[in-house]
Subunit: 97 residues, 2 copies
DNA sequence: AAAAGTACTTTGAATTTCAAAGTATAATTA
DNA sequence: TAATTATACTTTGAAATTCAAAGTACTTTT
């Protein structure tokens, strides 16, 4: 096989999704507000990217209340961590020649 | 500033464009056929991604004939190389926490 | 009690992605 | 030599994605 981008996961193509995963592999959890600030995304935009990752079972979404305010908290699943690791390795391989 | 994906260039978000640039920073030139094979892209798909990079002045497109067959050859511009280098550094920084 | 803020969700328009079909010529086979 | 197949792209437009504005449902401040 020749295809050099074969192992690059299209679910992580977009910088916001790449950012979400980067955050979630080093932080056990992150909430909506934290992701929004770290990524500079608008609300709707962030919601659709988290939804895309959730659909792939790469992240887990947990809704609860902190005090009486709603709080949505995200974490990377095992599947997500593994897929992201593979993706990062593929990018590194691609970039060093 | 908090935005951790601030230096990630959206022109290189897509894996095919990332692949094109990776190829063009190590090879002075690559033609349509070579890119197509290395990236596993369809014709129309590759054409639109090269067009996007050309629009940003990140790659240069030269059309000629080899014998009597048309040949389209791509190369990275100085601007493209610089932008890509910055992008790669931003990705590396993002990925190591 | 009204106004402003927080934490999202919904919506749909704009943009992007993609492959099928088209164009034009070259090479092969019958 | 005529027909068929292959090469090297380009054009087209439907489908998918991206995005921010507006909406919902509270909570907090004035």
């Amino acid at each position: 096989m020749k295809n050099i981008i074969h192992n690059i996961n299209k679910a992580f193509d977009h910088r916001i999704r790449l950012g979400i995963m980067s955050i979630l592999v080093v932080n056990e959890f992150a909430d909506f507000k934290m992701l929004k600030e770290l990524l500079g995304a608008t609300d709707g935009n962030l919601a659709s990217h988290t939804k895309a990752l959730e659909k792939e079972d790469y992240i887990l979404v947990e809704k609860s209340f902190i005090g009486r305010k709603p709080n949505t908290r995200y974490s990377a699943t095992k599947k997500g961590r593994e897929a992201f690791k593979k993706h990062v390795e593929a990018i590194e391989k691609l970039l060093k020649q």
